[in-house]
């Protein structure tokens, strides 16, 4: 029996031990990160050169599927050329939906509408980039034209051309010159007033006295000297005019793309908003902001005045002052002075760092051309909880736009790494309604870079 018990225990004890305290081996999941993906670099940010006037303003919201269940949209004859022109600028334009039939799933409608709006935005941005290049070229041409005008002005002798009026008998034929006299007589009665060297070199004077001859010959000699240069400058001027016209011919359609892009997005969203309103929902999808590109008719433009460099300097100063104040060797007098300075910096960073933040916006349907634009600013409380945040890669504006019917949460990254676009504040926005619904959207404020003006 003892032997039997021993056998049983020999089997049982290892099995019991085996069944206790087992833990799953910790095995990491396969991971491989692509070394070829370059590290991020902070966006270049040249502080303090942002023009305060908003050049272009975009604010829109995307419909929610539940608000557009039976919504449909068709492109009419009026807007078809705009759709065609805008989508033709995109290599994938044929993949962008322009029509939204009734029987399509609302989720898919929203997805395709957002993709279309984004694509049109790209087209507008691309158009702006090209416009910037052509605009730069046209400005350069214009500057050279002014220079040439100045050069011509400098070259042309300062002469009272009336003193060299040509009195002639008959009009010359072909390349013949005018046969002129300085004084009028019975035969040489007709008058031709020279306007410059070009004209005077086409005159052949007959002199009645040596004084006149000397006076005229001096001018003729001078003209013969400068005329080749003037001719060359005129030719260049002519060439520049042609170049300007050719450049403008490229610029003009792009300007059309910008406007057409805006109009078709507005039409799509206004149609959706009209349907949504008819269904009894309060959602707003379109907003028009007054900007240099599209000013309202109240003669006011949206404006953001902010000195990034000063803010950065003050923020650094604040850190430095805090370091000094923490130094135990600082005596009470020095500490009091540092604290006074520190408090002033803190106050500036809290309330004084944004000189102006004023957006003129008209929300909703039936765009009035700006007559119903309202100002939303930090000063009047239309913009609240404004924060300028310096993230790792760029500064950002965080704020709320508060209207009577809803409020909009805005988080916009500020960059100026794209020469053509200048300064941009771009980001997602969320409109919050009293019924708890939230709609996603996008906002973009564009500014010129002052040095590029």
């Amino acid at each position: 029996m003892k032997k039997m018990m021993k056998t049983l225990l020999t089997i049982l004890i290892p099995l019991t031990i085996l069944s206790c305290g087992r833990e799953a081996e910790v095995i990491p999941a396969p991971k491989s990160f692509n070394e070829e993906v370059a590290g991020l670099q902070a966006f270049s940010f040249e502080a303090g050169k942002m023009d305060s006037t908003v050049r272009a303003f975009t604010l829109l919201f995307y419909p929610r599927p539940e608000h557009i269940k039976d919504f449909s949209y068709e492109v009419d004859e009026l807007s078809k050329p705009s759709w065609d022109a805008v989508l033709a600028t995109l290599p994938y334009g044929d993949r962008v939906w322009r029509e939204y039939p009734l029987d399509i799933d609302p989720d898919m409608k929203v997805q395709k509408m957002v993709a279309a709006i984004q694509s049109i935005g790209r087209s507008r941005d691309n158009a702006w980039r090209e416009m910037y290049v052509y605009d730069t070229q046209m400005k350069s041409i214009g500057a050279r034209q002014i220079e040439i005008q100045e050069e011509i002005k400098a070259l042309e002798p300062i002469i009272n051309w009336r003193d060299f009026t040509c009195f002639y008998k008959k009009r010359p034929r072909g390349d013949e010159k005018y046969e002129c006299k300085v004084e009028r007589d019975n035969q040489y009665r007709r008058r031709k007033n020279p306007r410059g060297c070009d004209d005077i070199l086409t005159f052949q004077f007959i002199f009645d006295n040596p004084e006149d001859e000397q006076r005229v010959n001096e001018v003729v000699t001078l003209c013969e000297q400068v005329t080749p240069q003037l001719v060359k400058l005129e030719a260049e001027m002519e060439s520049l005019r042609a170049e300007y016209d050719a450049t403008y011919a490229k610029y003009e359609p792009l300007e059309f793309i910008r406007k057409a892009g805006e109009s078709i997005v507005l039409d799509l969203l206004q149609t959706a908003e009209r349907y949504t309103k008819e269904e009894g929902f309060p959602q707003v999808y379109v907003a028009t902001g007054s900007s240099a590109e599209k000013p309202n008719n109240q003669d006011v433009l949206s404006e953001v005045k902010i000195d990034f460099q000063k803010i950065l300097d003050q923020a650094l100063l604040k850190e430095e002052l805090e370091r000094k104040m923490a130094d135990p060797t600082v005596n009470s007098y020095e500490f009091a002075k540092l604290k006074e300075q520190h408090d002033a910096v803190v106050e500036y960073l809290a309330v004084g760092h944004i000189e102006k933040f004023s957006l003129w916006i008209e929300f909703g349907l039936n765009y009035s051309g700006g007559t119903r634009s309202q100002e939303y600013s930090i000063a009047n409380g239309g913009i609240q909880d404004f924060e300028l945040v310096f993230n790792d890669l760029s500064p950002a504006f965080n704020f709320k736009i508060v209207t009577d019917d809803f409020w909009i949460d805005c988080k916009l990254d500020v960059t100026n790494d794209d020469e053509a676009m200048g300064y941009r504040a771009v980001g997602e926005v969320f409109a919050h309604y009293p019924d708890g619904s939230v709609t996603r959207g996008g906002m973009k404020l564009e500014f010129n870079t002052l040095s590029s003006k």
Partner: protein
Amino acid sequence: MKKLILVAGFLMGVPLWANPIQTPFVLPTARVLPKGVRNLSYKGALIDASRKFNESGQNVTIAEPFFQPLSFGKIMEGEQDPAKRGLIEDTMNALGADPNDSFGQTTGQVNVKVNAHVPVLAWGLTKKLTVAAVVPIVKSSLNVDAGVQQQNAALHQQMIGDIKAKGAPEKVVEFLDKMNHPVAEKMEEYGYQPLQNENKTELGDIRLISKYQVLSNEINRITLTGALTVPTGQDQDVNKAVDVISGDGQTDIAFGADYDYLLNENLTLTVGSLYTVQLPDTNAERIPFRVDSKLTPDIDPNTERNLGDIWMVAAATTFTYKGFVAAAGYNFQTRQRDEYDGDMFAPNRYHWLAEDTKQKMHTALASLGYNTIHLFRQKKFPIPLGVSLTHTQVFAGENVVNDALTALDLSIFF
């Protein structure tokens, strides 16, 4: 990614299957305890979970749902907000890509070790009726990790360039975070707890069983079985994407029969069957927004569910000689598809919850054991004891873990 729920409700004695179907480690028998005899036994099962048979019956890792391409198409499908899908579609178009173009793929690792400690008390109330109570204690250890393999550097760079061109640098940071930790980012977005290794010990679903012998002679034995499963175990945590559970949170009733054919005093052939009805209830569930993924941010705390009923058939042959017991058998289980319904979301979304819940399992079992009953009867041993070791191999199935299982059974009769 499909949600992984690993059930560790290992039960005892007569087959007592819970939801979803379990790897069996008991062969059928029509035996009952003699009147007045009680049996206290301890059953310890060791199981690893690392592989499974999928919906098509293929043998795959249980971390399979983690392995997903990071393609534009999949990324779009993973976004519930159609506006966000629209933003991604526009980027895809602008890069000249299509839905199959991929940045790489997500990866994962899941391995589980479970020890089920199952004390069982059985009592022969009459000559024909035996009742038993089963109180499983489930000790589990979970290792889970998610990773990513990036494969298309050019597409990464194009994507970063495109976001920068849009003037949204912080979105570049967001994109890189999502690419470097796609699973963790998505789970955080949906409100799941972060994936983490976990060791825990929990009470499983308690089962009450009765076996009634309707026929017993020298050649035949027939026993009817009835069982009730009480939801004392821990159901899935709705905030965990990978969870080892010790119960399913609802009540089951089961009924069945076993038949022994005694070829001679040493050899018995047995067939048995058990049908388990899983009663409907309401439960908090995450409601998918896509048919092929159960990861979702939407929770319906009052989801009506009716877990699929389970039917089992088994056959075994048992050889006994002087206390030594050798047995081998086959077991087949099938579970019907679950049903879900609710009012918070579209009806089809509840139906998607039932995807991949239909299960099948074919197993082969072999058991070796020894008991002192004959010695006890001969008064050569003071107490009637028994010990056995059972090994189960899962050789085919659908939507079931297929790792082998080993179980130890110690019994004492008094």
